[in-house]
Symmetry: C2
Subunit: 306 residues, 2 copies
């Protein structure tokens, strides 16, 4: 089938098409740069940093597994600790996905709000939405043309995470697939028992206002393709619409979880990938953008070869 | 049910909660500014600018209607003219949605690629992805802090459309819900028979590389919640996965299409709304962002009261 595409990877699928003279010099697509990265440019994700959520099977009895990577230090570690405790206590088993708002978020937790929390969860302050305790000065990925972030002084990547920087603070950004902690009005900051993930255009106005604790690295389609809730804010109006959560476990407490790795954001291949995302020169494109926002440079994550 | 929300409209649902002293002065949420806009700040959308697509009913026999607004002059009018002809010829009836790629696009058209096109379609040049024939100089929405677009010299809104500006050119932007024309490798520019809409983070690298012809103004959830395709680029691998398109018609050729209107992007209420999107001060928020990218300021569109 011939494919009319607003796309990238067309360079591979249309390799047999004649190219014009000015297109004869081809540049690799971002996906090709990632595929060609060296083995030592990938960083293994520890199983203890994985949270594995099994939803009830879909209407065709297919299993639905969502894998989340917890965010690295120094970010949000109070909430991350709570999430480890909640998973170890099997607290989410029997809860559900309760909200699906188009172009915004999918949210899950205890819809009854009657389920007691395990003892020993930390109460974390809003100051921990950001960090001022920054270990290195040279973390910023400089865009070729120096265009700044619309929401911050600069943006960059550190240990595989997308970050924005203000005058004295650094914080993770609400990109597609990032996982955050639901809360009520301030001073509440949430415990981590109620979580959401982004399924639309990056709601960056939530940055610095909510704790980000990780990102979905596999299976987000099991959440992003759910029917949208018809209640206010996309909540499901009827109990039978909710999607049951069978279990949530830490990766190191399971036996059947594959290993994952991310492309080192300090590597040469990541720099080339980010540049290619900002300046597409592969054959489909006529005009390179000359820039990119941080959420349009998703950090590559994949299953680790055995 | 108490709602833990990364959200906006919580100001209404939690009005009974005690507020801290520093939150006692409340600011309206963007949705509240829109709801309070004056009647004369709304602009009616002509029925002749609507394209109404009826998909086959869903698994529960519910109808699925998607309404698209065609883009205004001076943008993409060659392709828009083709789309009017294709709809008038009922060309899409019996075609299907063939591709659903997570965090990217939903694409529809003739999967067989054997269906002949109506006579008289225009062939449009790539130069028409942008316009240099710009009728006014004062269209740019100035953000309070002057932060630029990551992809262009500036951004703004004109006659209800999100636009970016380069040195000599202006072009529409690939925000969530925007509709574009699938094409093959350049110099092909597509006819308008193969269309896609954005269902993820704005793929702004496509700006100036593909014709944008409109946006989905109602029913995008019927496309964004479809199962993701498992083939390359999110194409459905099996014919039975495709979603049949029953009919596509222009609004002025139908009797049962409601009227729509958009918030005038030159109005005081739109300016206040855009400012509030960039600087959230409603009670849920601790820190206003101090900026927003253009795709995080979606132009309000609603059904027109009778």
């Amino acid at each position: 089938m011939k494919r009319y595409l607003p796309l990238v990877a067309i360079a591979a699928s249309c390799a047999s098409l004649p190219l014009l003279a000015q297109q004869a010099k081809t540049y690799p697509a971002p996906s090709e740069i990632v595929a060609a990265a060296k083995a030592d440019e990938w960083v293994a994700i520890a199983p203890s940093d994985l949270v594995v959520m099994d939803l009830a099977p879909d209407s065709k009895a297919k299993p639905r597994r969502v894998v989340i990577q917890l965010i690295a230090e120094p970010f949000s570690q109070g909430w991350v600790g709570n999430i480890r405790k909640l998973a170890a206590a099997a607290w989410w088993d029997g809860t559900s996905i309760n909200r699906v708002q188009d172009n915004y978020v999918v949210q899950w937790g205890d819809a009854t709000e009657k389920k007691g929390l395990p003892e020993g969860l930390a109460t974390v302050g809003a100051k921990d939405y950001v960090t001022r305790d920054w270990p290195t000065k040279d973390w910023i990925f400089a865009q070729a043309d120096g265009r700044p972030d619309a929401y911050a002084g600069a943006y960059g990547f550190y240990t595989g995470w997308p970050l924005a920087q203000g005058r004295e603070e650094v914080w993770p950004t609400h990109c597609y697939g990032m996982v955050g902690v639901g809360r009520n009005l301030s001073p509440d900051t949430g415990t981590g028992a109620e979580l959401y993930t982004v399924i639309g255009h990056a709601p960056r106005h939530l940055d610095r206002n909510i704790a980000l604790v990780g990102r979905v690295i596999e299976g987000i389609e099991h959440m992003s393709s759910l029917p949208r809730g018809t209640g206010a804010l996309g909540f499901y109006e009827n109990e039978e619409e909710r999607v049951p959560i069978l279990s949530v476990r830490l990766g190191n407490d399971m036996k059947d979880v594959p290993a994952f790795e991310y492309l080192n954001t300090d590597s040469a291949s990541f720099a080339a990938y980010a540049d290619a995302r900002a300046n597409r020169r592969d054959p489909f494109f006529n005009v390179p953008a000359g820039g990119a926002d941080i959420c349009n440079i998703p950090v590559p994550v994949r299953r680790r070869a055995k």
